[in-house]
Point group: C2
Chain length 99, copies 2
Amino acid sequence: MIERLSQTRRREALAGLPGWQDVADRDAIAKTFTFPDFNAAFGFMTRVALVAEKLDHHPEWSNVYRTVAVTLATHDAGGVTERDVALATAMDQIAGAAA
Amino acid sequence: MIERLSQTRRREALAGLPGWQDVADRDAIAKTFTFPDFNAAFGFMTRVALVAEKLDHHPEWSNVYRTVAVTLATHDAGGVTERDVALATAMDQIAGAAA
């Protein structure tokens, strides 16, 4: 059973994840990515989907044309865990590589 | 310039699109698709993305694990047009083929 991050660890993790923020009304973190166009946005989603499936940890996300809004939380733990940090880190790497 | 559907045409189109409904607070139509798992849900999204790019008409959509919630509207027309009917029809066909 994976555990929710301590406040200290969560602050530390968010400090290393630019643009990721706590969600106001639930225990989750979120970020909105913006790309040049739909092709780039969906390309990002496709690469992330492969990583998510491999990690067996999936984002909640929405896409409107060239933006992708992501929320991460670990349902089994009822909050943010190292799994979310790992997926957020992978998303930032993929978005950086695509930009 | 593409025009918004007449009420008659819109009713007719929705009658042929099971599960699609008017959105309460804006001029748009919406449907939530549910698949066996994330693999199937994202596979659906990938096939739809290719169609959307070809049509140059893109959905607003969100994905949480095995569900995909879609909203369609034509921004240039400020409402629902034949472009949305075409994309909704393609989505239903793809979802049916994937199921």
